[in-house]
Symmetry: C2
Subunit: 337 residues, 2 copies
């Protein structure tokens, strides 16, 4: 059996390679009968065009790279899955690439762009906008999923996210409305990530609006992981300074780490300390007490991210920032005081 190329199909169909090419690419100017004949030959022999040859010629692919920083967060899993599903519905091909929490996503992105000749990028986790100059050089459309874009000038960069400032405010108000006055914040390094900064400020603002100020002693800095939030919370509880009745955690896995630390310190959730999380991961509802949290609409984030990116790629739109609403899921991890 000779190799199955466009030539071979052309020979069998008794047409030229250009005609076959036209059929493959759904060009209009092909006789209906010819098209049918060619198509049936293609099906019959299971011919698949050589992507490398096409890419070489056109110098571009249909690949959209999804760059995920921080696979450990279960919040990302359904988003990645949904984005992939959305992409395969289009003519594009998704390629997922995980990178280490500590490595440089912009560097990884340029590598992928050059190597794979991707036509678009989705970023999940990390904050590429902080490296704005490098990203803008990419020229291909990018969408930041669940991230706020700081620089408005980058016309190739879009974003889809919730209003972190507002959502953090509503989480804190959920606590203050139930009588909590001394609230700890369990979050990442501020300034480092826009997202952390926004949630921090939203939380503090909500407290101040209720007429009391945030005590910096009560900022528990931690990585976005079970282990580190467990550590951070445990240390806070061990210190004499701790004087809070509730914790606002910037992600559900942090909240889960905190609950464990509280439990291991001989205290009770929510009896002694209430906990509210952020993200709305499924497994949070399986804890005892079930986790009260701020749910991010991840299906919608996935759908909107993909649509925005594809529109960008196809020139129907340019950099835009979509902000979605959150919803508080009431669990049993918060009590009134």
């Amino acid at each position: 059996m000779s190799k199955l190329t466009i030539r071979e199909i052309a020979r069998l169909a008794e047409v030229s390679v250009s005609t076959v090419s036209r059929v493959i690419n759904d060009m209009p100017d092909v006789n209906a009968k010819t098209r049918e004949r060619v198509n049936s030959l293609i099906d019959e022999h299971g011919y698949v065009p050589n992507a490398s040859a096409r890419t070489l010629k056109q110098n571009q692919t249909n690949i959209i790279c999804i760059i995920v920083k921080g696979i450990h967060n279960p919040f990302f899993a359904p988003i990645v899955e949904n984005i992939q599903q959305e992409i395969v519905k289009t003519k594009y091909i998704p390629v997922v690439h995980y990178i280490d929490e500590s490595s440089d996503e912009v560097g990884a992105a340029s590598q992928l762009l050059i190597e794979k000749k991707a036509v678009g990028l989705v970023f999940l986790g990390g904050n590429p906008t902080s490296k704005a100059r490098a990203v803008s050089k990419f020229k291909v459309p990018c969408v930041l999923s669940t991230m706020t874009q700081r620089s408005q000038e980058l016309k190739n960069v879009s974003s889809v996210c919730v209003d972190d400032f507002k959502a953090a405010g509503s989480a804190v108000r959920y606590l203050t409305d139930r009588g909590h006055r001394s609230i700890a914040i369990l979050g990442g390094r501020r300034m480092d990530r826009d997202l952390v900064w926004n949630r921090y400020n939203g939380a503090v603002k909500a407290m101040e609006e209720k007429g009391f100020s945030f005590d910096e002693e009560n900022y528990l800095e931690s990585k976005f992981s079970l282990e580190d939030s467990y550590r951070a919370t445990g240390e806070a509880l061990a210190s004499d300074a701790h004087r809070f009745t509730a914790i606002f955690a910037m992600s559900d896995i942090m909240a889960i780490g905190a609950m464990k630390a509280i439990h291991d310190a001989g205290l009770n959730v929510p009896g002694d300390i209430s906990v509210i999380g952020f993200d709305g991961i499924r497994i949070g509802q399986y804890f005892d007490p079930s986790l009260t949290t701020v749910r991010q609409p991840y299906e919608e984030i996935a759908v909107r991210s993909t649509k925005l990116l594809v529109d960008n790629i196809e020139g129907r739109d340019t950099g835009r920032n979509i902000v979605l609403d959150t919803l508080i899921i009431e669990g049993d991890s918060v009590r009134s005081v």
Copy 2:
């Protein structure tokens, strides 16, 4: 700036394209000085060879596809991450592809193989061996990670997994050693997946060795998800028939679903019913009670899978089946009766 091709580098270095090609591909027959000059030009201009052209010419890539079926199981996340990390240490490029729990992984695989011209495949989840004929046609080496291979004849297929039969037996003995006599099994559809079948039989055998038989009424069939195991356990508890003091769940997420169902039925873990899981996912230790489980050595699974696959690809080895040991992690979800 003209496009950066091998020609351009050749022009700048005042050598021919073949010489540059030799340098790029680390061929021995290049004058040291020439090589150095070419290399510095490459670095200076940031030249990256066009992968499509190379692939077109050589008709093969460096891509290894990782096909993951069932992203929802958090057990897979660290394995995927580790496998990816291992692959990038080699000269190969990992490409992750998620497919739906209900879709056909073999079909997806052949698509990827043809489209991406992958030189190797890693399967996670699902059971491609059941479609042995199709897989053997692939011709490229495949490794089944965390799966047992049934057909020994497929020389291009290797596997890395634990001994499911034995591991399930040790889980059940952990329960019987603590006095449990009536044990339910929470698992998937038997016969459908080898893995389920092996764990089922290992569990039943362990019971029989202790002198009592397994009551088929106590097989709680469920999908590998939080929701469905919650449902299955809840239904079992609601029925009059339920007469078990412990549950062996075939995965941690099933165990977590079960614990929630027990709790919501007004019962206590482990007070009323003990639970033991399977996998050893991190978050299991954050539950209250912390989950007792059979840990699969996922770092080692990743390392061995990758090594085996690369050895296969490079012809240093052929289809082999590696079996690794498990370890019971003692949590608080099992009590003695």
